[in-house]
Amino acid sequence: MEIIVPVKVVPDLVEELEVDPEGRALDRSFLKLRLNEFDEHAVEEALLLKDKHGGRVSVVALDTEEIDEALYTCLAKGADRAIKVSGDFAAGVPSHAAAVALASVIRGLPHDLILTGVQAADDRDGQVGILLAEALGLPHVSVVSGVEPAGQRAVTARQEYAGGVMAEFEVDLPCVLGIQAAREAPRYAPVSKVRQVMKTVKLEEVPATGELPGPGSTVVRLAKPESSGTALVLEGSPEEVADRLFSILQDKGFVRA
């Protein structure tokens, strides 16, 4: 089975995010980027499928800032190919444009199963995987955890609903699945192995073709949410904070005598 995993890097949400002085974009000067965590799950699910059933895993990414290291890491984890899609992506790539650019390259690659992360921290105009499926004319299922082959030309995919309920679908190949979580925690690639891959493997480069659409909307204001002000912050040493918290819980009747 030919498995394609489109990946991207996004700001690390563990770090502080700042809005630039114009108030319409993130301040990128101190931004720490990392592989989208849902894409990590898509890569893991692809590698698990390959480990169990054979096939080939190709990761594909638009040529944006710091993408090389992300692609080398995917190779170090066990991906067979890494393809960088070149184009004018410096100004940022909305999901609709990313989907069209990715589709222009994936059309020329053998593909049975396309796994994407279900969403990304910055996909304000929609999820790339679904838009990619539409651009390629393929069926799609999102919020998937658990993919298994069902015969030669289909897969079984489980879509997660609220309350732990799941729907099981059989989906004809080729198709696009938006992965919420891989069956196992994403594997770790040791830095030494990533370094080794960087020295020995060259990333493939393919240009995007065609005109890229805009997002259809314009950001007029970007801001941190104002705190609703409900949280009373308990300050002090750990002992003082624990004391106050204890008193509060006692007042509210949560301390069982």
Binding site: D122, R124, G163, E168, P225, L234, A242, L245
Partner: protein, 323 residues
């Protein structure tokens, strides 16, 4: 093109989901601004019960067929696309849920209408559509203006009051036939319900919930001890379950359980929108997180910004000593 506002009805197990009522309430405000109608569109089979709950709409469009009885992204999107093409509404609201995600982005791609995802707010000002998305894990709000004549907005559950959308009017019912389709490429097989056996966190009065901040599985006893001292149960945010540290039955949030305990202690949880959706109804929320910008503090009543590894053992000791 019409000035109508369409709400795509999400339903499972006979009734519309709460988010549908939230959208109907907001749709009414948008329709006031456009002078159009509120049109609820439901796709499925045997939809009489669902239609009966949609009294807040002016018109209810039902697309019913045995082949649509169970949701599939492909067939339901195709049916909705036909309705939207025919009606050309000004704004179409879709829930940002597991079902709605496929539909909203799928329809945007198929119809060529713009989509603004993860919306917490939507309004029309002087005929211009403004939508505010909650992105970057809930840490940033992006307000955008939509230029196109038609637009799709996917709405985060919990953004608007559901009460406003529980009207008791008698909307006109229109039946439409699903479009003719070739063989289905996505086939519904079955619904899988969660297995019992473990603790039902939705029934617990006290939950101590743990997130990424706990760093390692080896640190879980810290929160287990606190939960035990409070006589409560242990719950978790998504990453902890994805890591396999706790079973799926313990997950709070969008794809986990919705909980409304009397006390919810969030330990090392940043509070992504998907998590807040499942716990914001708790009576008392205490959040422990070293990141003072963590969105969890926007819903918490009491916030602790000290290191959880310092505070938790001290609090647990005090609770134990009080017994």
């Amino acid at each position: 093109m019409s000035q109508d506002i369409v709400v795509v009805v999400e339903h499972l197990d006979n009734g519309p989901a709460d988010v549908t009522f939230e959208m109907l309430g907001r749709a009414r405000e948008l329709a006031k601004a456009t002078g159009g109608r509120v049109v609820a569109v439901a796709v499925g089979n045997d939809l009489e019960g669902v239609a009966g709950a949609l009294g807040a709409a002016d018109t209810v469009v039902l697309c019913q067929h045995p082949s649509l009885a169970s949701y599939t992204p492909e067939a339901h999107q195709r049916a909705l696309a036909a309705v939207l093409r025919a009606r050309t509404p000004r704004v179409t609201l879709v829930a940002n849920t597991a079902m709605g995600m496929d539909l909203a982005a799928g329809l945007s791609g198929q119809l060529g209408w713009p989509l603004v995802a993860y919306c917490r707010d939507a309004r029309l000002e002087d005929g211009r559509l403004r939508a505010t998305s909650q992105i970057y894990g809930g840490k940033i709000l992006a307000e955008a203006e939509v230029e196109a004549a038609h637009a799709l907005l996917s709405i985060l559950a919990g953004s608007f009051p559901a009460e406003a959308g529980r009207g008791t009017g008698s909307p006109a019912i229109e039946e439409v036939s699903p479009p003719v389709a070739g063989p289905a490429r996505v086939r519904f097989k079955r619904l899988i319900r969660p297995e019992g056996g473990d603790v039902d966190i939705a029934r617990e009065a006290v939950l101590v919930s743990v997130g990424r901040g706990i760093q390692s599985k080896d640190n879980l006893p810290l929160v287990e001890d606190l939960a035990a001292a409070l006589g409560g149960a242990l719950a978790a945010s998504r990453p902890i379950v994805d890591q396999g540290w706790l079973p799926k039955t313990r997950q709070v949030g969008k794809s986990g359980m919705t909980v409304k305990p009397k006390l919810y202690v969030a330990v090392g949880i940043s509070g992504a929108p998907e998590h807040l959706e499942g716990m914001r109804g708790a009576e008392l929320i205490v959040a422990v997180n070293t990141d003072r910008n963590a969105p969890i503090f926007n819903v918490a009543h009491f916030g602790v910004m000290s290191d959880l590894f310092d505070v938790l053992p001290l609090l647990t000791e005090k609770l134990k000593a009080a017994k």
